[in-house]
Symmetry: C2
Subunit: 331 residues, 2 copies
């Protein structure tokens, strides 16, 4: 089978590619070829002996979406997106990439199917940003989407298109709403949500990190490993049981910042915890206030999607996947 | 003030124009000018002494949306749409008119505001078609939108855009989800929902009508008069209390076909009821099965939106508004 990944150069895209290479196939069918697209050309995946077409592509540019599906990939994982902050700062760019790019991809699939039967699996990564406060204690599977960002709006529109194109038979789509990814590897960035990862990742390697909110702030998390697991599972399962309700809240861990810190203490000791510097930031606290904290994801759980159930697991996944199984800083 | 109505040649558009002419203003501000657009040029409204620009326009055609808002109307009521059946039959036309046309209008407003401060009230007519079965007994204000038609998808996307453009400050928008309009004036049409109106309208003037479903079928109704009332109210009220949740289920009447018939009997007697011919149609019964039956619209009620509370009222509104207050067929 042939797998197309858009946004393949990003953190999740790279991890997904590696995982698929390691597993060798999806739902028992061997992967013979990858098409890997991003705004910068993705790297060739290590250890894959099949065909790889890795190149730079902007799906919203004329002809690019048609080119992306010209070889009729069997599975398309659409990760490419402008992130929340940038989509808020640059209205036109956000709509062009996140809405027009997604629609162009879906249209290219539909038009290709008009020439010759074609019905790929499409896995669309959405986000809990489709929801906007105020929230119930736990957001259920039937809660309405009232995004408070342009990014969330664009994702919610992508979800609606995904369901309609699936219902019309143009492809077999599933949209998955990812929790906040934690521990996000790499360097601290300026995203308002960055501290959720920073306060674990940095102390684990002996670096300081800033905590801008109080310890009782609750949030909704899944590890990069769990996120990649969602994508592979979404590419693998039968979608009939979903009906035309093709977009799902993914399972995650609802936990407080205090629970994060307790898991850090357990893994790396008090010395690591002391590397967290408390610098309350009212702006960040206010932004975080508007984010979902907890979900009741029984639909996704019933379909076999699984995430971590404690911060200990999330920390362990990070140590195994990013730190070679060892903690550099001693407790 | 200047009022722009798209879809102004349609049944609701014409009734809205007449009502605004009769009232003379919106929220205490006199109407000095109308721009009336539709795919066919709308008629000049009777009895209006101000400026009227009534012309044919397709908002999805290049330049048309910019032209529509060039004179910076203060209130824009966006009714124009391809109806459900046609949007399902012609996928590309539905998306072009209902999605691209709406987005072009919203974009034209945004771009106009970049040249000179401009923030009109935008009233968007959405539909209960944004919902898809299965439903709870009464659909609440926070129920999710999982449309089962391309029309419903396009309306749900329009709602999301409306909220985001409002949040970004490009205009002050409100989307209202209309119940099934009953009694729809005019001739019987082929819409699957047509019988809800036909079985009242035709017998009231001594004509036969076909009932394709059983009397216990429950549905969600508002009169044309109530629908026009919603639009005027939406154009008039302060929208601050809505926050960024700008799309609302409108109030309506949840009633069975049997209750419809009882109201007909009360208004026009058994002779009128005998004009209803029962011809069960499994296809129509199945389509109707997927439609919403009842809502809990406390948000809209709290904002002052009002609909009929009995079929007697709906029949009376029809007799007053369409039949000059008299029933041609004697009981």
């Amino acid at each position: 089978m042939h797998v197309l990944i858009t946004g393949a150069a990003g953190m999740i895209g790279r991890k997904l590619t590696s995982r698929l290479v390691a597993e060798g196939g999806i739902a028992g069918r061997a992967i013979a070829a990858f098409t890997l697209l991003d705004v910068v050309a993705p790297e060739q995946p290590a250890g894959f002996s099949g065909a790889v077409n890795a190149r730079a592509a902007d799906l919203s540019a004329p002809g690019e979406a048609a080119r992306a599906v010209a070889e009729r990939p069997d599975v398309i994982v659409h990760l490419a997106a402008i992130v929340s902050g940038e989509a808020e700062a640059d209205f036109e760019k956000g709509y062009r990439v996140n809405l027009d790019g997604t629609r162009a991809l879906f249209e290219a699939i539909r038009l290709s199917g008009q020439q010759q039967a074609y019905k790929p699996r499409v896995v669309f990564t959405s986000s809990v940003a489709v929801f906007g406060a105020p929230f119930p204690d736990a957001i259920g599977d039937e809660f309405f989407t009232t995004p408070l960002t342009s990014y969330g709006t664009q994702k919610a529109i992508g979800e609606l298109l995904l369901s309609d194109y699936s219902r019309r038979g143009f492809f077999d789509g599933i949209g998955i709403r990812l929790p906040t990814i934690c521990i996000r590897p790499g360097k601290p960035n300026k995203a308002a949500s960055g501290f959720f990862s920073n306060i674990l990742r940095e102390p684990l390697v002996g670096e300081e990190a800033v905590l801008p909110v109080s310890e009782d702030v609750r949030h909704w998390y899944a590890s990069p490993r769990a996120a990649v697991g969602f994508l592979v599972h979404a590419a693998s399962i039968e979608l009939g049981p979903l009906g035309w309700r093709r977009n799902l809240n993914m399972p995650g861990l609802s936990a407080t910042v205090g629970e994060e810190i307790a898991a850090l203490r357990k893994a790396a000791g008090e010395k690591a915890v002391r590397l967290i510097r408390r610098e309350p930031d009212a702006t960040i606290a206010r932004i975080v206030e508007g984010w979902p904290r907890n979900f009741d994801t029984r639909r996704a759980l019933g379909l076999g999607f699984r995430a971590e159930t404690s911060f200990d697991e999330i920390v362990r996944a990070h140590i195994e996947d990013e730190l070679g199984g060892k903690i550099p800083v001693a407790a």
